[in-house]
């Protein structure tokens, strides 16, 4: 048994930290959030240059062949810096799905993702379906026409292509199409954590066999694995947020003086920060377990990812709320970073099944 990161994994973390400190501080992030664009294309090109966009793809597809452990490291650090670039949608959700598929055009597509030229979104959710992503109403009829509406498509507005979960003859299918195809219309909006999201309608969109990535069991297993990996990634992001919430709150209470002393000298605050520290460590433990199970593709991997997601949904929100409370009035100020962790935690809990949903799944 060894639960320590390898030297290379530590180096990877340090590289990402260095980037976040020098190129992606909170002011830079605020500039991106307030700009008309949903992300910064210079940053995205930088990601491509540094090899980050190639990380999870197999070497046969031109990637670096890193796995869920390295992705978890990346997302933990993204969480600390509150990175809003659309890595999750293009690289994890759509990219890993393509990489695992037998789709004929996948190598070209992955190459374009790695070089930063291509954005793809996975349209998995529908209104009224809750967290059931496997029985879509969106469907392809006998004539090959796609009709229906997908909701909460991350980065949909910026994507060149869409992968859509739909039904054909009551069989689950994954199809890919250009966002600009006739009959596709988008209604885009901002998310609570500064990303962009779209509701996408398909009206008699003509498809043929070349649009189909996979059908039936193969398609189900592709989307399940993609969503599972994405759930692991946002959970890792939450673990990063939790650590930052604890560390930033600790620093703030050491600096802030009231009654003639740093407020960190008050036991009532110390014990609350100890609780934040403990929760952060326990969440890290569940992350290590989950990422190793996914890395080994064990039978229990979904269950352990669910355990992690339910835990960070509850304790991550708690940590972020405590961080806001212990920052006093500064905690609710837009200009301070700390309140933005709370928005991130809300967004993470809402994605891919919230704490209640995954708690049930973990017990199955």
């Amino acid at each position: 048994m060894n639960l320590n990161y390898s030297d290379e994994q530590v180096m990877l973390r340090e590289q990402i930290q260095k980037f976040c400190e020098t190129e992606y501080d909170f002011y830079k992030r605020e500039d991106i959030v307030k700009s008309d664009d949903d992300f910064d294309s210079n940053v995205w090109n930088l990601f491509a240059e540094q090899g980050w966009l190639s990380m999870p793809f197999s070497e046969q597809s031109g990637g670096l062949g890193f796995g869920p452990i390295e992705l978890s490291i990346l997302f933990e650090e993204f969480g600390k810096a509150l990175v809003i670039e659309p890595y999750l949608s293009t690289v994890v959700l759509a990219g890993s799905l393509l990489d695992n598929s037998t789709f004929s055009a996948k190598n070209d597509l992955i190459e374009q993702i790695c070089s930063g030229e291509l954005h793809i979104s996975l349209a998995y959710a529908e209104a009224g379906k809750g967290y059931d992503y496997l029985t879509p109403n969106t469907s392809i009829d006998k004539k090959g026409l796609l009709n229906g509406t997908k909701t909460l498509v991350l980065n949909g507005a910026n994507s060149d292509k869409l992968i859509v979960a739909c039904n054909r003859d009551n069989i689950f299918n994954l199809i890919i199409l250009d966002t600009k195809t006739d009959g596709v219309s988008l209604n885009s909006f901002s998310t609570v954590d500064g990303q962009s999201c779209s509701e996408i309608s398909f009206e008699n969109v003509q498809l043929d066999e070349t649009n189909i990535i996979a059908s039936g069991d193969e398609a189900i297993s592709l989307i399940k694995d993609s969503l599972n990996l994405a759930t692991l990634c946002v959970s890792a992001e939450a673990v990063g947020c939790m650590e930052s919430c604890y560390l930033k709150t600790l620093q703030y209470t050491k600096d802030r003086e009231q009654f003639g002393q740093p407020i960190s000298s008050f036991q009532v605050l110390q014990h609350r920060m100890v609780d934040m520290f403990i929760e952060s460590e326990l969440a890290k433990s569940l992350l290590i377990k989950a990422m190793l199970e996914v890395n080994n593709r064990s039978d229990d991997m979904y269950k352990h990812v669910s355990a992690l997601k339910s835990y960070i949904g509850t304790s991550g929100k708690l940590s972020a709320k405590e961080a806001v409370q212990l920052h006093g009035g500064m905690g609710v100020s837009e200009e301070m970073m700390i309140g933005h962790y709370l928005k991130k935690m809300i967004s993470i809990d809402a994605l891919f099944g919230n704490a209640d949903y995954h708690l049930k799944q973990s017990g199955k």
């Binding site: 048994m1 060894n2 639960l3 320590n4 990161y5 390898s6 290379e8 994994q9 180096m11 990877l12 590289q15 990402i16 260095k18 980037f19 190129e23 930088l46 240059e49 540094q50 090899g51 980050w52 990380m55 670096l64 062949g65 890193f66 796995g67 452990i69 390295e70 600790l250 209470t253 050491k254 740093p262 960190s264 000298s265 036991q267 110390q270 014990h271 920060m273 100890v274 609780d275 520290f277 403990i278 460590e281 326990l282 969440a283 890290k284 433990s285 569940l286 290590i288 377990k289 190793l292 890395n295 352990h304 355990a307 339910s310 835990y311 708690l359 049930k360 973990s362 017990g363």
Partner: protein
Amino acid sequence: MRPYSINQIKYIKKNIMNINFSDEDLAFRDEVREWLSNDYPQHVREKTEKGITISKEDLIDFHKALSKKGWMGYNWPVEFGGTGWSASKLYIFNKELGLAGCPPILPFGVGMVGPVIYTFGNDEQKERFLPDILEFNTWWCQGYSEPGSGSDLASLKTKAVLRNDLDEDYYVVNGSKTWTTLAQNADWIFCLVRTDNSGIKQEGISFLLIDMKSPGIEVKPIITIDGDHEVNSVFFTDVKVPAKNLIGEEGKGWTYAKFLLAHERFGIAGVGASMRSLNRLKEIISKLDNDDLQRKANELEVALSAIEITELRLLSALENGGHPGAESSILKIKGTEMQQALSELFVEASGEYALMYPGPHGYENNDKPAGPDFAAEGLSAFLNMRKTSIYGGSNEIQKNILSKFVLGV
């Protein structure tokens, strides 16, 4: 090229992280399981499985069986007759015994005073006390807390004054100790006593071993809210203790006491025993068709997994050359909260039959007056488990430790 390119670290081919135990450790786990099914005393197993409180004799039989296998010194180095086990074997041993429902190994001899004796005692003391601890010939108890000294242990007042009579050096001890677990069964007590009042309070404390048969010792039971007699008050009136029973140097007792607290690092979270309780609870709840209970059980299962992996992380850091820090305080806090939450859920699962009071020892032979078989099984445990967040440095004291050593405030 910017400084954070990862292209040059594409040689990560082999991840070294691995959550599985080595083949050697797995073989050891099988050996522990074999001992549990063949040599763990049957009459003790039957009682713990039925939830009947075990007697003093049962506890002695259990410890003697461990001793016979050579496992009594589970946490000791080989040179003092211990097993010399690695951290992972120690972990496996604790977990398997907990999963099998064994009573906890009494910590006072082998876990507490033993390591103090072999670390700070002289050769004569090692020869005199260590073999009897390993064979469980002596039952030890712990004389730390006093009526006026709980969390502020260093304020203790039990006084030991050095005298000389007819060329014999001895201490005269006066005062009282409290919350002394199973003192009614004990042959010996290790005590923190005050030998000096002149300096700061920590510096005047000494570590003294006292024969419980000494004239002037009186043990009075304290009955706890579960109705049981587990803890006691121990009174000392002019008790004569040979000076050769002093461990190490006079005035250094506080240092030894802190060493002792840090020594019992593993098994502190009680993961194995909690897993056993959780499995039993899940079995009961699965038959009740109650979503609220199911949800609570799921929550505890996730939290218990987090505690287990946190303990494994600590263990892995140790085995790979790291040093454990204040993290064991996390395990104390979360492990005891878990034990309490599990025992509470047992009571909740009994529904209205939580009304039944089984007394301190459960219903004899499962002969319950009413309700389903599991009803009221957990009530005694629930009441008893309240102690866990209070003893061994209360959970609030653990948070003070974490504030100081982790938060740095």
